[in-house]
Subunit: 401 residues, 4 copies
């Protein structure tokens, strides 16, 4: 079986939840897509040799490394994929870019705007292709929403309400993870899940102009995980939670739209409530990740008496990616958002253009996050636009979404 397509050899740093999602996507990309560039799962790296070896075998990587710097230095690697905790992205991405590798990085891009700016500069300067994994843009229903908005079907946008509601932290006995440690994660729910909502808002509505937010840490201690089964909260060794577990935000966009946003891991009954509703002059759209194949659409100019939200199962041939997968009505799942994203990345490598969302989007997202955090600290409105001008400059500020 000969393949006459261009191949790129991928090296991935990290192998936990996101490592599994990315590996699955690399493995399945050629099965579903006819992308002009095909990824080869060349190597992964992790510090624990036993763990990384087992992961490599299980997930289909041809080899492994225990030092990510060695992975980057390998000549037989074209792309570096970074799926490690947030505090490590900066060093890895810059090293990869400087080694001339294409870079794809999990979100949030960095620990702060300064890091993100330097990462962006590095990929720009080294001319490598770059992308950030805001995978929810790649749900077919979200892509279809984008298309409807671009076609003007919703009209000028006035409102967005975006929430990312989970309840994973509701149980106070649930052990602490790196996501609750500020030195590793940077921020709490803001960067972890809120950043997805904010990215969807940038994608679908436009650039943020100003924000004011409030955060809270309702559960400020969590047990340290041990091997023994945890039963008695009293006897647990506890560790301080050093980031927020809840955040609420109101925002104005440069195009005049206004919005509310919320991210929390304490909303009981919401397993993965990444949701938005957008209202424009001519219509509205609604989406919910827990039922990600559907898009609800309302048209104000539907026949009077017959107006109402339509529930559209985005698996018809008219919908993005639908022809790639299964016949109408046969739904896809969470993991397929990554396959779709990677197909854009592969095409980007072929064409020499960094697809959106790329490091610039990551940087812009980081500026929004940074502005929200400032607004919390200062208890005041903060101008995102000024933050962007200051960071990126007038000229670059023109390229958007």
């Amino acid at each position: 079986m000969s393949i006459d397509k261009k191949q790129v050899r991928v090296g991935m740093i990290g192998y936990k939840f996101m490592g599994k999602a990315h590996s699955n996507a690399y493995r399945n990309l050629p099965f579903f897509f006819d992308s002009k560039v095909v990824p080869i799962m060349q190597s992964i790296s992790g510090r624990d040799e036993a763990g990384v070896k087992e992961a490599a075998q299980k997930m289909g990587w041809a080899s492994y490394e225990t030092d990510w710097r060695e992975l980057i230095e390998r000549d037989d690697i074209d792309v570096i994929d970074i799926v490690t905790p947030n505090s490590t992205h900066f060093e890895m991405a810059i090293a990869a870019a400087e080694a001339g590798k294409h870079v794809i990085c999990e979100k949030p891009l960095a620990m702060n705007v300064d890091q993100a700016k330097r990462m962006y500069n590095a990929v720009q300067k080294n001319g490598v292709i770059h992308m950030i994994c805001h995978n929810y843009r790649f749900a077919p229903a979200v892509q279809f929403a984008k298309k409807l908005i671009e076609q003007g079907r919703i009209g000028k946008i006035r409102h967005i309400r975006g929430t990312y509601l989970q309840d994973a932290y509701l149980d106070p006995k649930s052990p602490i993870t790196w996501r609750a440690r500020k030195e590793i994660t940077g921020s709490g729910v803001l960067g972890d899940i809120g950043s997805h909502s904010l990215d969807l808002a940038r994608f679908l509505v436009g650039e943020f102009q100003e924000v004011v937010g409030m955060t809270e840490t309702f559960v400020n201690q969590r047990p340290v995980e041990t091997n023994s089964h945890i039963e008695q909260v009293e006897n647990m060794q506890m560790e301080d939670v050093t980031v927020e577990d809840s955040a609420v935000i109101i925002a104005r966009f440069e195009n005049g739209a206004i919005g509310t946003f919320e991210a929390t891991k304490l909303a009981g009954g919401n397993l993965n409530g990444n949701r938005f509703e957008i209202n424009g002059e001519k219509g509205s759209i609604r989406w919910d990740l827990e039922n990600l194949n559907n898009l609800e659409v309302y048209f104000a100019d539907d026949e009077p008496g017959l107006r109402g939200y339509r529930t559209i199962n985005c698996t018809e041939t008219y919908h993005p990616y639908a022809n790639v997968y299964w016949p109408v009505g046969h739904i896809i799942g969470y993991e397929h958002t990554f396959i779709n994203l990677l197909s854009d990345f592969m095409n980007g490598i072929y064409e020499g253009i960094s697809p959106k969302p790329n490091f610039e989007d990551g940087l812009r997202n980081q500026i929004v996050l940074d502005s929200i955090e400032k607004s919390v600290l200062q208890k005041s409105w903060v101008s995102v636009s000024e933050n962007i001008s200051r960071t990126i400059g007038r000229d670059l500020a023109i390229s958007k979404n």
Copy 2:
């Protein structure tokens, strides 16, 4: 047919939408409830004699007046019900209280905090029973939510997200009404529909501590209504809209909960989206006015694997008011919230206690509205608690919800 119950003779000022809703409730109260006091529909007043005469006949009022002052002065009136535009509440309520009449008033209570404070003082000083018509507290599902919260079934509350989304203003050709004129209405969507969300938050979560909001007037001119059929926007006589048509708010409550709120009349596809979700330490509740008989409830301590929001149709004998109406599963509508509210008002008159929500709630709601408006003007957080202390004083500030 003799009735040996105490009767109160009601005089109502105004007879449009709210006049119809109140009249219907007075008429039906004795049919459904065994309240100890029965309302007699004695008289209504309106400036237009032909209109008020027809309304009296249609809606079952025994007589009518064209001057509300004369209505209040009549000896055969025990209760004054105010359903006129906001700018008139102040004068009418104070006159009614000073005439020794019990007073029930539509929301928002007044044009501003100063008016509301003086109205509250007037009913207190004159010892009359008073109530404000935040009727959505009286949906059986909302009362049931309150009961669950009071029983601790939801645990300490952390989050509320309240929206009141309508799309009545989406059509730019829809004529202007008094609700778009600041001198008559005081505020726009904030007072009109947002005040309901804020009242539900006070009822179910507790007192507001601080708020920051943003408002917008997306449609800032509207055609003046004429008798001719409107087709051409270009030829219409236009009038400026002088209040906001959209508002977004984030808030902290005195008990530590945080929340987001939104009120808009430009959310296409949302006819009457008065909705809230509340998340506590032990569970969550959700409600939607468009499907008002249902309450969705989540319990974190349900059996693992069987946790999920339950959809509860609040028409079983275990639910508030259910025995008053129809057998299980036979739903009630919007209008019944007013009947339930009036039954509390009648019982309050019998017992000599002003039921909640009363003018104090109206005043407190006005203070929240005022704080939001200040925060919009100042582009800053505003302390509701300080506003309450300043207005009501430390002692009165103790009585809550």
Copy 3:
């Protein structure tokens, strides 16, 4: 207050659940509708004097009788409304018709086809206006569905699936009622709730051609209700249930459509699940009584990619009855279906035409029920068309729905 409208004086036989629903509708009809004939709540009858006296006072009837024959004989009564158990409809309706009174009767019309035929003959012969209370036809969403079908928006109908699912009998300790006694009720869930589904099918799809059904009595004994609180099933006095508590049916319609129907009171989690979905060549509609204000509509000729069921809240000015009640999005409840039905009845009296559904519909429905029961007994398909020809005759068979 003078009323220059024609008045009809109503005498109602019975005063329990349906008596309450009808009384409420008579009371509220003039408040909402400008019908040319206004009902006067003249008198009700019931065998228990204390009970009927209290009911008269509570529900607003001017007088009462303890013998329904005397009610019918009164000169000051124009209309007889029959809301008693099924076994009594026959004698009462015929007596009323022979006394020249207009007759409105609860469903099912009679105990069997023979009774129904004679009742129909009696109203025809005596030239009185007649109607049967299949009130669910009068939900605005159902009327709107009818209109869409008549306009050809759904196209030629191919499918209906109608269910009426309740769970009131799920608790085996729930006491027996007259509805479980064959000599009083005729049939079980078939006549009680199934008849509503079958009537909606006749209304929206057309006449039945043939049916085959199966019934079951899963709970065949129930406790007799006593005054003492029931706790121990073992100690209860039990009575045999002599009618079916579940029924399933498949059917073909004269226009070629096919359908499934089910009625049960043992479907846990379904409080009042009167639902249907209809699929035609050009579209589909869905309705659910538990959310009766909504109609879901699908158009096959919607723009490709944007096809999906629309959720239409039938409270806009374009929807039937919407202007009678409340502004858009303010929902009505179960009881309003009766008000709407009575407005048609009053208009029928004014115009001298028996509105649909009338006794002919009641007879036709009885023939469908009879055919299903025969099919159960014979374990075979039964021709409804032949049953209708035999009962009504060729000529009358022409007037349909």
Copy 4:
């Protein structure tokens, strides 16, 4: 990378829709599951060399054949997977069994009961492992439903209503396929989609006792597909549809439960409506393939006032297969049902036991289908139990579901 697991080498016959679904499942099985036997994608066969070669490359098969008999004869093939049209299953499965290959076959098993019986005999006689691809049993929510039923949480089952509603045939210009040709497909919607509903009923409720059905072919001609774009129905070359496009059924089960079933491809607005609701003495469950991760569950013994269907997203660690895939709330799609099914098949091969659903289930399903078709032809009830006794015999009839 050495793998010390047992491997089985798979040969698949066919490579269209089902071929893609199976290939995807073979490819992904080792990624998600730690099954003791690992499938090797050895070879596929198809008559068109260009097509099968391309499919082999695209889907990851190591080689291809153009004659399925040669595939079966190959020594390096352990398992034959049959994903071809129904009319071919018989010959292929028997040949595979006689060659000593394990066999997995798409549904329906055969064209009729006689074929199915002989296929069943063949796999039994040759001692090979066998399975039929009723993949919807393997949705985690369906497996969880099975578990709840087995635990007695729903109680004795009384009702099932199962529908499989699609709208793929609604457009009369949609070209004819092999599924509309009786000589290739055997039956229409009954075997194609109805068989899934009937299998789920056997899985969750039990064995059928008797059935009566009705079928219809509403669209009895369809255009022959050509390369030119189809616009004018008049000019199309038309072909007769020789199987039913709609079917309705009522049924009784051996355990006393009763049910309704419907399969149609003309239900506009239903893309893939494989749904069921089951009601038992103690509770109810509901499922919908279009939202396949959710199970709705009702418990009659929930606290009074708090009873209602719970929406359970079956992605928690407590749910079947949940630990195999993604964290809580990250949904899976249609394709994963095949991966789950294959993991059972692989384990069955390891343990030497044919997992359910196997060819016996296929045969039993075929007997139900056959009984329905007989009931349609005879216009009468048909005993499934007698059909089973006659076909399988008393002894074998004991092994069920």
